[in-house]
């Protein structure tokens, strides 16, 4: 025990003694860890923004087109007849449709076209479990009425302000097939959040959507199925799949959300880029920690050799290096976390994306930092072989 305490004391003191000499490398470790945290924060922004709408769906089961991959832009449709058939399956309480089409609106402020999601719902149906939508969706029964996502990107700020101030704002929709750009009147706001691909979201009635973009209402983007109390989602999903005979895919709510997340994590370049960025951060962190540890070992080789001459075992020196590595990981983590919270907070404020760090992410990056420290310590221990008591003799 005394030996373990001494190893910890020696590791800490030697690190502190060389803190100034190692300052650049320690800063490098902190920056690498900060980059890892920021990557995770951005990845969260991607996942959370992509999952905002799927999470808001008021559904136990979800029906999508067989060719559906993810809720991006205008997802492929499936026939509404399949949803009607699903409504007849035992255990199904009710069904609803969501129409999702990407379009563009003209900014009243700059005149520039902005990408927007046009979400169409039956104003009398429960489609989105968002309190502001539930409270205001009846108003969508009035033709050409819309609700605007207040977390739409900065470019929508003037519209949001106008709705807040005056209760309404008019927004021209870009419709290439129409002679005159249709205009919707925004009469309220709801809270959803932008995605990486779409600047904002407008909620309209299915009839307004049809009138604006000319999309047929028998082509459903997402079918929502709510179950009767006590019904088993997996069993009902299987029964619906048998009934609709391949005209749509049916999934539980959890499976649907996981599929969406998986799509962004592994099927899109952006998800892969974040993961590669995380790995690059780990590699850079290992290099910087190794630099500190090698400096520590090189500066103390004769002293380590004296300890070996005194009967200390090489494992003791390995323990000193390992504890120094752990100390580096812990000492650099806190400033890195502080910086990362600042960067992700600023990025979230600018983009309005849900960029941020969850406690689990912080713990994961801390674990990765300790892993980096372990790898670097293992490499630095090879250098300890140069500590040789025989070299101390003149």
């Amino acid at each position: 025990m005394a030996l373990a305490r001494f190893a910890a004391l020696l590791a800490f003191r030697q690190l502190r003694h060389r803190a100034l000499a190692s300052l650049a490398a320690l800063a490098g470790v902190a920056v690498a860890v900060m980059l890892m945290l920021v990557q995770v924060g951005f990845r969260n922004g991607l996942y959370d923004s992509a999952l905002a709408l799927p999470r808001a769906l008021a559904a136990d089961l979800v029906l999508v087109s067989p060719g559906y991959r993810a809720l991006t832009f205008s997802p492929p449709w499936f026939p509404r007849a399949a949803l009607r058939d699903a409504a007849g399956v035992a255990g199904v309480a009710e069904t609803a449709s969501l129409y999702a089409y990407s379009s563009q609106v003209r900014s009243p402020e700059t005149g520039a076209n902005l990408s927007v999601w046009l979400l169409g719902i039956d104003p009398a149906a429960r489609v989105l479990d968002l309190p502001e939508v539930v409270a205001a969706q009846r108003a969508l029964s009035v033709p050409e009425t819309a609700l605007l996502d207040r977390l739409s990107r900065q470019e929508f700020r003037a519209v949001v302000d106008q709705v807040t101030r005056e209760g309404l704002a008019r927004l021209p929709i870009y419709a290439p097939s129409a002679d005159l750009a249709p205009v919707v009147t925004v009469r309220g706001l709801f809270t959803l959040g932008p995605s990486f691909t779409i600047d904002g979201a407008l909620l309209v009635s299915d009839l307004t959507l049809h009138a604006t973009l000319g999309v047929p209402l028998d082509r459903v983007s997402i079918g929502l199925v709510r179950l009767e109390p006590g019904a088993r989602p997996d069993a009902v999903a299987a029964a619906i799949a048998a009934r609709i005979e391949g005209r749509a895919r049916v999934m539980t709510r959890a499976a649907y959300q996981e599929e969406e997340r998986h799509f962004y994590a592994s099927r899109t370049p952006i998800g892969v880029i974040f993961n590669v960025g995380l790995l690059v951060g780990v590699a850079v962190g290992v290099v910087f920690i190794l630099q500190v540890l090698n400096g520590l070992v090189d500066a103390n080789l004769p002293e380590y050799a004296v300890l070996l001459a005194q009967g200390y075992r090489p494992a003791f020196l390995a323990a000193v290096v390992a504890q120094a590595a752990v100390a580096i990981a812990l000492v650099t983590y806190l400033p890195a976390l502080g910086l990362a919270l600042g960067v992700t907070g600023a990025a979230s404020g600018i983009t309005r994306l849900p960029i941020g760090l969850h406690p689990g992410d912080m713990a994961m990056v801390l674990a990765l930092s300790l892993g980096m420290a372990a790898v670097a310590a293992g490499l630095a221990m090879l250098r300890l072989r140069r500590a040789d008591p025989l070299e101390l003799f003149g």
Partner: protein
């Protein structure tokens, strides 16, 4: 007469192999007894250092028998050699103190590796040893605040605090001025006198030879009594 602390019989040792082989020690026979303060002199390359490293259980001789502190060195593994070295004190040409530790902690460091380590007792022993080398009250100081002679005295305290049976000093005065060097050797002689301990000091420093009890001279790997 008590058994010698070190008994060397016809020791031979060399480096390299085949045509490149160079014999460094030849036919060394020697007994070292408790209470002896031995000066090992000789020109550079005469084999002094190799002999000290054999006595320090840092090497095992290629030829001959070496019993050190009652154990035959041949056949001991690294762990057993390490355990044996815990009964030997080393003073090197340079002090090699741990710069990140205080003076007292450097002396205590020699005790942490002992199997019967006891923090309170070890601290008391380290303080007493610092007192004995004339550095009482300097325990909390950084080693960087000490002069070269004082640093070497801390190295002596570090070597002796474990009450070793054998102390090996390799050119302990080489990096010190004449006065400081003599003070360090004097200290070694004083602190080991009356203990069941032998000191072997490899040295070129003729000014300290009046302090030793026995002189051994080496030339071309062969030992001659002084």
């Amino acid at each position: 007469m008590t058994a010698p602390l070190a008994a060397l019989r016809d020791i031979g040792h060399g480096f390299g192999s085949g045509a490149q082989r160079r014999a460094v020690l030849r036919g060394i026979t020697l007994d070292l007894h408790a209470g002896e303060f031995v000066a090992l002199t000789g020109p550079s390359g005469s084999g002094k250092t190799t002999l000290l490293t054999l006595l320090g259980a840092l090497r095992v001789p290629e030829e001959g028998d070496l019993r050190l502190l009652g154990q035959d060195l041949r056949g001991l593994d690294a762990r057993a050699l390490g355990a044996l070295r815990r009964r030997i004190g080393f003073v090197f040409q340079r002090h090699h103190l741990l710069r990140s530790l205080s003076v007292l902690e450097n002396v205590e460091a020699a005790l942490h590796g002992q199997p019967d380590a006891d923090p309170a007792r070890d601290r008391a022993a380290a303080l007493a040893m610092l007192e004995a080398v004339g550095l009482g009250g300097r325990g909390a100081d950084s080693t960087a605040r000490l002069s070269g002679g004082e640093q070497q005295r801390v190295a002596v305290a570090r070597a002796l605090v474990r009450r070793p049976a054998l102390v090996l000093a390799d050119e302990p005065t080489a990096s010190l001025d004449g006065r400081s060097g003599r003070a360090v050797v004097s200290l070694l002689a004083d602190l080991t006198r009356g203990r069941d301990c032998a000191v072997v000091m490899g040295t070129h420093d003729e000014r300290c030879l009046d302090l030793v009890t026995r002189r051994l001279h080496m030339e071309d790997g062969v030992l001659k009594q002084g």
